[in-house]
Point group: C2
Chain length 645, copies 2
Amino acid sequence: MLQESSVDSSGSRFAPLVVLELASDTKEEAIAWLLSRIRDWQQNGGAELLVEQLGPGIGVEEKENPNMFLVGASMQRLLCGAEDLGLFKECTDGSMRAFTFASKHNFKDFKGDGDGFLSMAECQYVIKHELDTLRAKEETNVPGYSHAKLYPGKSIIRRLLSKGILIQMFPLHENEELKRLSFSWYKKVKVSLQPLDDIRHYYGEGQALYFGFLEYFTFALVPMALIGVPYYLFDWEDYDKYVVFAVFNLIWCTVILELWKRRSASLAYYWGTLCRKKAFEEPRPGFHGVLGHNPVTGRAEPIYPTSKRHLRVYLVSLPFVLLCLYLSLYIMMIYFQMEGWALSIYDENPTFWTHILLFIPSIIYAVVIEAMNLIYRYAAEFLTEWENHRLESSYQNHLVLKVLVFNFFNCFASLFYIAFVMQDMELLRQSLATLLITSQILNQFMEAFLPYWLQRRRNKKMIRKIQKRRLYEEKELPLVEQVRLEADMSTYLGTFDDYLELFLLFGYVSLFSCVFPLAAVLVVLNNITEVYSDAFKMCRVFKRPFADPAANIGVWQLAFEAMSVIAVVTNCALIGMSPQVRSYFPESETQLILCTVAAEHVLLGFKFILTFLIQDVPKHIQDKLARLEFESLEALKKKVSTSTL
Amino acid sequence: MLQESSVDSSGSRFAPLVVLELASDTKEEAIAWLLSRIRDWQQNGGAELLVEQLGPGIGVEEKENPNMFLVGASMQRLLCGAEDLGLFKECTDGSMRAFTFASKHNFKDFKGDGDGFLSMAECQYVIKHELDTLRAKEETNVPGYSHAKLYPGKSIIRRLLSKGILIQMFPLHENEELKRLSFSWYKKVKVSLQPLDDIRHYYGEGQALYFGFLEYFTFALVPMALIGVPYYLFDWEDYDKYVVFAVFNLIWCTVILELWKRRSASLAYYWGTLCRKKAFEEPRPGFHGVLGHNPVTGRAEPIYPTSKRHLRVYLVSLPFVLLCLYLSLYIMMIYFQMEGWALSIYDENPTFWTHILLFIPSIIYAVVIEAMNLIYRYAAEFLTEWENHRLESSYQNHLVLKVLVFNFFNCFASLFYIAFVMQDMELLRQSLATLLITSQILNQFMEAFLPYWLQRRRNKKMIRKIQKRRLYEEKELPLVEQVRLEADMSTYLGTFDDYLELFLLFGYVSLFSCVFPLAAVLVVLNNITEVYSDAFKMCRVFKRPFADPAANIGVWQLAFEAMSVIAVVTNCALIGMSPQVRSYFPESETQLILCTVAAEHVLLGFKFILTFLIQDVPKHIQDKLARLEFESLEALKKKVSTSTL
């Protein structure tokens, strides 16, 4: 809980939840208009929220932005918002149901006037939703800004953001909660699992699912790492004895992905997101179009023709991706030239320094790959934004697809080339090790330590400033300073990069790890530090992100499954190429290939059947979902019978 | 509509819908008990239906069964039954909604007291459902039959059937409707499509979807047949020039299956079955177990542990299927021995008669295959029944899986052996042609002409009998005679065999037709006669079947898709084996195989992507479904808010 409450315009105090930071030179009339729209009744198209300007800090200086606003809401408004969003909560009978204000007393944790029923993350999510869906009515432009055009149905917040009038909107941290969470998460010496429920409570379901997946993935890798160590210790040079390891790989990666689906469904059910999202997905705030009527809900919302979007996807985005792939291929060829050049120098003059030189091309290539991935990422984001997807999920899918294809190609093309064209297992092992280690080091650095270091510098400045004035004796910062401090923190950009990293690691492990058995060990170690560094950056480095009520890891599940299919193919090919297997077919290479292909088809078929046999949702949760479905159909019948249509 | 109405016990007349035929020696007390249970109020656990004994026929003879009962219901009872079943009907606003009695006036075709709102097939389905779910209360056995044990929750009808007390239960035909339908369906010279809506109206959605699929499949085959004819005419001996044809095959079979999903979804939406079934699937009448509570609906129903069922499936059914596959393989080997023996006789003494002898083994093998399929079918049905599946859909899935695997193996194993082990394209073509033609002739004979001939003999006897007495001047048979006539007709056993036949034809066309381009032409011709013979047997040969509110062709969609994946593999292999392609790789067979495998993987990947890109349900129907889902969630919120939980 925050230490201080503000006083709203009507005189009652409210707990600030979300901060709006407008540009310091925003015109008064625009501010007055925005505040009135936020405070206005819902019937009049307002958001009916409480909002107040943040007072001047203790260290008042000229450069401080005066236009920071705290947004909150009455408990009743928050509860109604939760109903609008269709939040699922646990009922007294143990089932999960959509919350409604009228039936509030049927819910388990509802006491008194509902204080503490919604977590702060949920309250902030409600407020974000209400602000995002605050749409223009008859206004043709933002008052005072004739270039900031508005039309009926346009999201006001989005327009203000795109015109630079609104700088940012972020939810506030809760210091007490955060301390408790960070202690149980990463500060104590760990023998326990991560506190997923607490993470979900503080950061929302999307974050919690990411950390759940990270944990699951790490545990799933342990057997592989355990098998990998003796392989590494006793058969280091016999890298042709990897058949057993490759077979293990195949079964492993199929089974863990199927079991994750079940675990994910269980988590999502008890977090109330499993059955929530489908029907309630509002258009994403960035979506623009002509105001029309949504054919599903009947509500007014912008309409954008699918054909136009398809044109943009197929005529602009697709050629761009292909061009980037070509560029990546080109750079890979330069890398092989460098590799050959380094090798020729070493052959001419084999000293210690020229031996070191052998690793230089791989390291440079790894750095270049990371840089290209980074640049491409921005381009992909821009393009996907421009494609103007209606739903956030659709936006995410297109973005993930673009980035995945490129990153996969960029990271693994050279390994495929070495493995299957050059067929040089020694070089493959060396390349794999270099790529893996370099990218891990770069990632951990870019992800956690760099932002932490930047943040620390800013924090120190702020704390020094306050200490200089020394007006307060309390250890805690006052609200005003706390808000300004958080406003300066970096913005967390979602779990995308974290998943992408896991995806590439999964690729390194499942595709080629049989030639470098230590890969799994490295990835396990990386994942353990990743848990700590991710937890640390969530708690200390970044602004609190808005909760994201995800029911599963979404398109990433598909991405990981696609990777596991590719892993079956590469592992079969590696097995077929091993001298061990070749020795069974001394006279006929044709027979060897045919047998390998047959084995691969059988394995793919088996994988497919396994996917069917292992049910995605555990039986007891299936029953609960079916019960909800059944009740909702019964209720619909009742509704049709009482309404006049 | 039937020509005559009966008078029920309370004196009011009712239209008979369903006939129950009890054994002629059934004890009076059992009959009285059954009738009272059927007539009893629903609150008392009865079915609340009207039931009356069928009067003696005009041609009363000693051997006529007196224990035939006509079952009907009041319009209000039927409408309530339709509500219980969750039947979807078109509303006045054009959307499809679950029918409820209270909101009856919101539905489009509801006029007056609802006469004609439900089709006769729907009324019969309602009555079947009510009879099937008529369950024992405290009775420990059927009165008068101490061996016919009952326990609370046991379906009475099912127990009577299994003990031979109830001989059969069937819905009555409507002669006027049937005449109209059969005229528009198969009697007029056709340039039009089949009257699918009328078929659905008379026979229900399951039948109509089968005929819809048959029609769709036939049209889909036309381009293939058109390409096949010139291939056959001009390149008969150049069977190596089939690469283009094989490539066409690949694309064709992927696209048509995807498009069928869309067509099927459209049909099912407008027939009201697309969103209906999932939540309302009652346990199948044959399911037995200890009475417990369904975790979804909370209603009392038998419970049978899944682990026991799994034991039966994996320890009994699976070994049995494997044994049958082994047997089938053994018989195939005998066939190849016969083939070799015939060839050796022909080589020794090449006359016209020994040339004919060459075809004999194939024909014998084809007949043996059909016979084995038939026998296996009964075994599979027995086993699947014994596995005691709770849902009809689960029963169907297990039955289809068992039969499919065996039939696929039985029909195609020899072709695979010839194509890929013997690599004898000439023999493959000959075998394919013989198998296809023999099985078509056998099927048409077994399916339509044999039952028709048997039926005709029975009908003639009946008509002669009536004409002998000549009591009535009307052309139409009186109700009593009509009922007895229908009771003697064969029972239609569902669309299973029809789909299976289409599945095998699809296999012949998609797997190997490139070596026998006329296959598609033969299949098109077969399908056209199949429409007529199936329509004919539905209208004239069989008892009317109960409607089956199917939303899609179910597990057959999956079966056809699996076949199309196998077709990609076989076609790629056939292309790789063609002399045309081989000539591109004169020096290296390895390279040829690698290229073929690479092409196959690319095609499989492309097929997979295509499956994603083509949406299963057309956009406008997706919107309507989402709207229903949205409304039902809104209604649930309302319900939660008004109930006290």
